[in-house]
């Protein structure tokens, strides 16, 4: 039998004005298990807590009920109070008689009756409480960052600067991501490579950072503080330790017909290649699909030419198993496939390009050495039409409902760069809305429109058609309310961005949740924006939602701070309100395992005493470090073997009984 103390709080007049606190304290005295009850002005104050501590000692209480504000407010406070008085902190129940009683009722009598009922429900629950101890697990002081774009690099640098080991896993042969492809960045127009490449070098040179490029995460097990991850290091066919990065192999490679991924397919590369001159690591990789040696067995030029003897056709994929305390997803984005937007003729006309392709054309290190030209005849375009929201804010099936956020600004940038290089060019921008809510963004857009004379037209482009070697653009001008036909030389489409396709598989591996657009969801959209709902998994960059570089870098720093906060702990204290299996009742049916969103339930062969008979049986086993205590398994379990500590079946039914009395 419990010895329960009930402490009714006045909360000044917040509760006492509508609830007769003394009547509540008197009424619960007769409830089973109640050994003591009192009321006080402010239970959460030092004086109130002293009353609780003294009563626990004096009346040898085994549990306390505090009738006060919402448990979301002061449950933690009173648990600490109980603990300092030597009571198990989980032998505390709160009856919410403020938010859910005194504040919403005016009738003193009704409110007092309700407060009594709520208090006796809390007493009924506490009668069935048992002391709980939160488990402790050690923390592996190493972080994994998945994705080597600016988000991943910045997160890794921030974590490493705090003194923790970080591994970056990047699936392409180099780090740098999309930012490396950009020419200039808005709204300051500084050169993207000039600000990114030093960071890439920093990451590679940092003693706490290890890069795994051309690698992918293959398997993730474990839980916050103790993840075990299998990383597949794909065979480069080049020994990175021997390679000097001289580039002779690329020059001599006879297979030069592969599309350069880095240049968005606008130029060709050899089968043995580095994606771009500043790639890190500066070690080539052989594209085995394109390599003549791998396809026909007859070539081997690169191996012959390599003076460092680095080319190794026999190299195999390598699987490494590493342990981490925290994982950061920074998988980034890609532009959507425009093949299905037939009205823009993207697939048909070489002069209709995406903004990212335009970016490569503008870039001095790009396929045209920075000369913006029509891809059909290599002439400089005289009229260029930019189309915004291609697939963004769209209700058609092949589009995306969300705003891609970066397009308005980069289109203003492109228009400006184009006008700067070729002042005679006529530039049109078709938009639905121009969205410029960043620092210096609106000023930038206005400069494009006002100083550079870029013609902004509110309206959508309905059709693009090739005609006499030019592009006939049909569009509507919603403000002038008329149809426009523009003879253009080039059309640039601001394609919507979407999460990298690898994110879906990664989310499954991490048991992290995604929204309907395959962006990772946050633990809380406002208050925990860089954490995944899965403990120990953090989010950085566009994998969480569209954002520009400054936002990405801020989020990367925020994710790093969260990771550092986790790795700085020696031990993690878990939530003791977790599921538990009553083994003699369990029939090993796996129903609970299937509904568990955290993969916390596994099955083990155990010796179980069933009606005095000892037998070997397959029973459910809960990993308390993984279990978050939702209770899905408890309701699913057909035999009632699963129960949730702190919210047991009997406790909730006791509350129901106490309310319906």
């Amino acid at each position: 039998m419990q010895r329960i103390g009930v402490f009714v709080c006045w909360c000044g007049s917040n509760i006492a004005a509508t609830v007769d606190v003394d009547a509540v304290a008197q009424a619960v005295k007769t409830e089973p298990g109640v050994a003591f009850s009192t009321n006080y002005q402010y239970m959460c104050s030092e004086g109130g807590q002293a009353i609780i501590r003294n009563a626990i000692a004096e009346h040898k209480l085994t549990g306390i009920v505090v009738c006060a504000c919402s448990p979301r407010m002061h449950e933690a406070t009173f648990r600490k109070t109980a603990a300092t008085a030597g009571l198990n902190p989980y032998m505390v129940e709160i009856a919410n008689i403020r938010e859910q009683c005194s504040w919403i009722h005016k009738d003193r009598e009704k409110a007092t009756v309700k407060a009594i009922i709520l208090s006796r429900a809390a007493v009924a629950k506490l009668n069935l409480d048992s002391p709980l101890t939160a488990g402790e697990t050690p923390v592996t002081k190493r972080a994994l960052v998945i994705g080597g774009g600016i988000a991943g690099i910045q997160t890794a640098l921030d974590i490493a600067d705090a003194g923790y080991e970080v591994d970056i896993v990047e699936k392409t042969p180099t780090i740098g991501g999309k930012m490396a492809m950009l020419d200039k960045t808005f709204p300051t127009l500084d050169c993207s490579a000039c600000i990114l490449t030093p960071k890439m070098v920093d990451a590679a040179a940092h003693e706490k950072i290890t890069l795994y490029t051309y690698s992918e995460v293959e398997k993730v097990s474990g839980f916050v503080g103790n993840f075990t991850v299998d990383i597949r290091k794909r065979a480069r066919s080049v020994d990175a330790d021997r390679c000097t990065g001289c580039g002779d192999c690329m020059e001599k490679c006879p297979s030069k017909k592969s599309k350069s991924e880095f240049n968005q397919g606008l130029s060709n590369r050899s089968a043995i290649y580095i994606p771009f001159a500043q790639a890190i690591p500066n070690v080539p990789v052989i594209d085995r699909e394109a390599c003549i040696k791998f396809q026909t067995g007859k070539c081997g030029v690169c191996q012959k030419i390599c003076s460092a003897k680095a080319v190794d056709y026999e190299q195999q994929d390598e699987i490494m198993t590493r342990r981490y305390g925290a994982i950061v997803a920074a998988t980034g984005f890609k532009t959507i496939n425009l093949g299905r937007f037939e009205e823009f003729q993207y697939a048909q006309s070489p002069d209709v390009i995406t903004s990212l392709e335009f970016e490569r054309l503008c870039n001095a290190a790009g396929p045209t050495k920075g000369k913006v030209m029509r891809l059909s005849n290599h002439e400089t375009p005289k009229t260029v039409v930019f189309v915004q929201c291609v697939g963004s804010r769209s209700t058609v099936e092949c589009g995306k409902t969300y705003c891609s956020k970066i397009c308005c600004m980069y289109t203003a940038k492109h228009a400006m760069l184009l006008k700067e290089k070729y002042p005679e060019t006529e530039v049109y921008v078709f938009y639905i809305d121009v969205r410029t809510p960043g620092k210096g963004f609106d000023e930038f857009y206005r400069r494009a429109a006002e100083e550079y004379g870029v013609r902004y037209v509110k309206g959508m482009v309905g059709k693009v058609a090739e005609e006499n070697g030019r592009l006939r653009v049909q569009a509507s001008d919603l403000i002038a309310d008329k149809q426009l036909v523009i003879e253009a030389d080039m059309v640039v489409l601001a394609a919507a961005i979407e999460p990298d396709p690898s994110a879906r598989n990664l989310a499954t591996l991490l048991t992290a949740s995604m929204d309907t657009n395959d962006f990772f969801t946050e633990a809380h959209p406002k208050l925990r924006p860089v954490e995944s709902p899965t403990a120990g998994v953090y989010l950085s960059g566009v994998c969480q939602g569209p954002k520009d570089i400054p936002d990405t870098v801020s989020q990367a720093g925020a994710a790093a701070a969260k990771v550092i906060g986790l790795l700085a702990k020696d031990k993690l204290v878990g939530n003791p309100c977790v599921a538990g299996c009553n083994e003699p009742l369990c029939n090993g049916c796996s129903a609970c395992e299937l509904v568990c969103p955290y993969g916390a339930i596994t099955y083990e062969e155990k010796t179980v005493m069933d009606h005095g008979v000892r037998e070997q049986r397959r029973v459910a086993s809960v990993n308390e470090a993984l279990c978050q205590g939702c209770g899905a398994c408890t309701v699913t379990c057909p035999s009632g073997a699963m129960d949730l500590k702190g919210f047991t079946n009997l406790q909730i039914m006791a509350e129901v009984d106490a309310i319906c009395r």
């Binding site: 859910q100 939702c630 899905a632 309701v635 079946n649 129901v656």
Partner: protein
């Protein structure tokens, strides 16, 4: 709850199961915004709507409740990612069985209330209490042996 002897006014007994992360917080917000709803509604806090065993609802009716409502996070917003989907399916089944047993549809309800929807919580509870009050006492599943 029985009919008030003096006024003759019927006061329904209503149990509300609220998930800790959204609906319980929504109820708190209704409180801190001073949005009133009938005192007949008593809230039981559960970690997630998926913790609500249909047996709890049956137990409430057995003990004389006149209406039972379950509130959880909006679909897609579950703190535990998928709990409310399980809850939704379970309740759909339970409710069709309750209808078969002769419990009027209006006596049970599922509502998704986020932590920001204090107003929705209060409106929901007002409507629900009104509906249940109009239906009167629920004797169908009441177990007389449970009476004190």
């Amino acid at each position: 709850m029985p009919i008030n002897a003096e006024s003759g006014e019927f006061k329904p007994m209503i149990v509300a199961f609220c998930c800790n992360w959204c609906s319980y917080a929504g109820a708190d917000l209704a409180g801190s915004s001073r949005l009133s709803y009938p005192a007949d509604v008593k809230i039981i806090r559960v970690p997630c709507s998926c913790r609500v065993n249909p047996l709890f609802m049956l137990r409430a009716f057995q003990r004389g409740a006149d209406g039972v409502i379950m509130c959880g996070c909006h679909p897609g917003d579950c703190h535990y990612t998928s709990g409310n989907y399980f809850a939704r399916r379970r309740m759909a089944l339970l409710f069709s069985m309750l209808e078969y047993l002769g419990i009027e549809k209006g006596r049970v309800r599922v509502e998704w209330v986020s932590a920001a929807e204090g107003q929705k919580f209060a409106i929901t509870m007002n409507q629900f209490a009104e509906t249940v009050a109009a239906l009167g006492e629920c004797k169908r599943l009441e177990d007389l042996r449970c009476q004190p």
